[in-house]
Chain length 202, copies 2
């Protein structure tokens, strides 16, 4: 029997032969992928690098993940779990404001993932779905229903993800333009958000 300890950082010297277990689980694969992404960025997140960090051969990942797309989809939805839903009795427009602001903040904390939300056209995982439903409930209480609610939700989500995507460097602008401090980006985001909410509720 191998020793019980099997940290994600432990890259044992002793190689395994076929048939021996490495103690891999989907959860450990995803957790290590989050680590790798946070520490070394999106370009370093390869199946092979992930396998190496887990002390495992590259193809063994496919026992726990269908393919790289599946992996990335899971990472994207995981991050959305960090978004804070507002209290149920909140003023609906204020609730929408806070919900989008929280989403924006969470996305800013994971800058490498934001382009992937765009490339993969959002997320359809359970956390994304939950957020979408919270938004519809708030819109309903704000008097926006049916097709108009779907349109409003779409506008808010697109704006929020878009702003996070361009947080680091302003788009379409001079090279000389300074990279804005985070506080100014957030203030800028909230200006536009208020305009949208005024239009939606008005």
């Amino acid at each position: 029997l191998a020793t019980v300890a099997n940290h994600s950082t432990a890259r044992r010297g002793a190689p395994r032969s076929p048939g021996q277990r490495a103690g891999l689980t989907r959860g450990r694969v995803l957790a290590t992928a989050h680590e790798l992404l946070a520490e070394r960025g999106i370009d370093a997140l390869t199946m092979r690098a992930l396998a190496e960090r887990l002390g495992v051969s590259p193809n063994s990942l496919y026992s726990h993940v269908a393919n790289k797309t599946d992996l990335v989809d899971a990472l994207l939805d995981d991050v959305l779990a960090e978004v804070e839903a507002p209290p149920v009795d909140v003023d609906p427009v204020a609730g929408l404001h806070d919900l989008m602001a929280s989403t924006h903040g969470v996305l800013l904390a994971h800058p490498d993932l934001v382009p992937l939300y765009v490339a993969r056209q959002g997320s359809r995982g359970p956390n994304a779905q939950r957020l979408g439903e919270v938004m519809l409930a708030l819109l309903d209480r704000a008097g926006v229903t049916g097709v108009q609610a779907l349109e409003a939700r779409r506008v808010l989500i697109v704006y929020t993800i878009g702003f996070a995507a361009f947080a680091v460097r302003p788009p379409f602008e001079d090279v000389g333009e300074r990279p804005l401090p985070a506080a100014e980006v957030t203030a800028n985001f909230e200006s536009g958000l208020r305009w949208l909410l005024a239009g939606i509720a008005g």
Copy 2:
């Protein structure tokens, strides 16, 4: 001497030896890259596939393009040349509306490139710069200046690119949700655009 004709589609059987010219130019490389992208999509746009379509060895592209990033940056800015600037004497808010609507339409016509605008954080090419200046001029005539103009421009650009990015499939929504027809997407885009413009001008 080889025959004069050297179309981008002609993949001559006769191989060239080192020292023989293939008649490549940066313009022909970019034009063929646009073709490849339009016909076979972003995943098919590889340096090797591009070289093959040009009837040339992969490394020869590096005589006309610094690297793949340089290529993509050029493609991105090229597309922005299609955006129509409004007449100089237009009502400024209407002008902003039309400018962003034109940008949105152009982006929708090149869906594969949109995620790249996000990944590359916009474009800083000459066409992008021209658009940015037109926007500032319109904002100025609408009474929005200084830092507020930069913020307003940022909001409008981010919203426009973001909406184009999610045109095909709604983000954060149910799997059952139908993919919206283009006309509805455009109407949805313009609703949000009007809200933003009202906030900016108000």
